[in-house]
Amino acid sequence: MNSLWSITLATLTKDIRLEWRSKDALNSMLFFSLLVVVIFSFSFDPLAEESRHIVGGLIWVAFLFAAVVALNQTWARELRNQVLDAYRVSPAPPNALFLAKALGNFIFVSVLEALMTPLFVVFYNLRVLGPSWQLLPIVILGTWALVVNGTFFAAMSLRTRSREIMLPLLLFPISIPAVLGMVSGTTAILTGETSARFWIVLLLTYDVVFTTACLALFGLVLHAE
């Protein structure tokens, strides 16, 4: 258990350091979601009242697409110089690698969300009518829901032709309940019409179920030869 965490931490710090120096994933994600925000906001141009109903969907679609950009780069850098093969033959537990990658992606996507949310507020004149503290669990659980399966499916699509296209094709169908949870939960809080409690519980269930599944099956996928 101890070695699992130390290896996770080592890989995570390595990834964060690499990202900090290159800023590849973060820059492309930021610019991508900025484009989505701009395109959405002049194609809809809603009133403040309407925007409360639609912005939950827009914001999560933007984050979902931007997350795919980061997720696609997760494993690509490990393919150069056969790092992944080296990892495969090393005695390090596969789940340490998976957790490090998933946590890394979680941090990158969270940074993106922290930077992009103010823009959404500005463009759509948002004012939250429901209990706004509930947005925090929705954001954390929703981001983890995207990232945990995304990291898993990115590892899976490494073995396929045209892997960049493969990832969304695998990830989006499985993510439908999570996306519905994030969008409906956010809309419920923004409009203040209904309670978001069910969606938080749903996202929590989704996270627990799929984190367990990913940890149980990642070794198989990594060693699938």
Partner: protein, 241 residues
């Protein structure tokens, strides 16, 4: 085994035509919906068959993950493909019925949405199998099947809750069914299941043959690459032997 195949094919053909006759001629006409209700005898058996096939796919995938048995993997491929076909029939016949009866083609109802998501998951399963042609494909596909199975209950509950908060355009479910209709439905289900089994069987034989050919080709190229120098001197008409 090989002789049983044409016999089953003939039996299935007879059963399907009998089921068609029963559905179109014998079954009573529904009082409010009229003849359009008869699509029910294709829609519901297709749905049950599709769910049965997807369930078989899940079982075969889990067996493959545990035992690494190539037969289980072949069964998984076959049931996923045929299941997607039957599920497509469900998704096409549903709106054809819904338009005259409900007045709308589609609604985000629990069963409709869950079936659609199931279809999407299995289409992505087939795409994964298509795009990944290496030896690891079976493991990846089996893992995806497990993920899909975990996803379906979550989809069901989320849509169920989503819909209970919104006005429902559809008052469906419940009610009883005429025993004569039930009989026709069961005959049709039997016919459809036999039909699905028949296609799966033939597709399974094809899949086994394909793998045998692949193995033979791999072996041939392995043996052939060993003596490149002698191969070049052999005349082309004899090199095939």
């Amino acid at each position: 085994m090989k002789r049983a195949f044409p016999i089953l094919a003939v039996l299935t053909a007879i059963l399907l035509s009998y089921a068609l006759y029963e559905a179109l001629m014998v079954a009573p006409t529904e009082r409010t919906m009229g003849d359009v209700q008869r699509i029910f005898y294709y829609h519901v058996p297709s749905a049950w068959t599709a769910f049965l096939l997807f369930f078989t796919n899940l079982v075969a995938s889990v067996v493959y993950l545990i035992r690494r048995n190539p037969v289980a993997d072949a069964v998984a491929v076959v049931t996923a493909e045929v299941g997607v076909v039957f599920c497509t029939v469900v998704l096409v016949t549903g709106p054809i019925w819904a338009r005259p009866v409900w007045g709308i083609w589609w609604t985000w109802d629990v069963r409709l949405t869950s079936t659609l998501v199931l279809w999407l998951i299995y289409v992505s399963y087939l795409i994964l199998r298509r795009f990944s042609d290496s030896a690891q494909t079976p493991v990846l596909a089996a893992a995806l099947a497990v993920f899909g199975a975990l996803d379906v209950p979550l989809v069901y509950f989320s849509i169920w809750f989503f819909r209970t908060q919104h006005p429902q355009p559809v008052i469906g479910g419940g009610g009883s069914i005429d025993p004569r209709m039930l009989r026709v439905l069961m005959i049709n289900w039997l016919a459809f299941s036999c039909f699905a089994f028949l296609i799966c069987w033939s597709r399974y034989r094809l899949e086994r043959l394909r793998r045998e050919v692949e193995e033979a080709q791999a072996l041939e190229s392995l043996l052939g690459s060993g003596d490149v120098s002698t191969k070049a001197t052999v005349p082309p008409n004899r090199s095939r032997q």
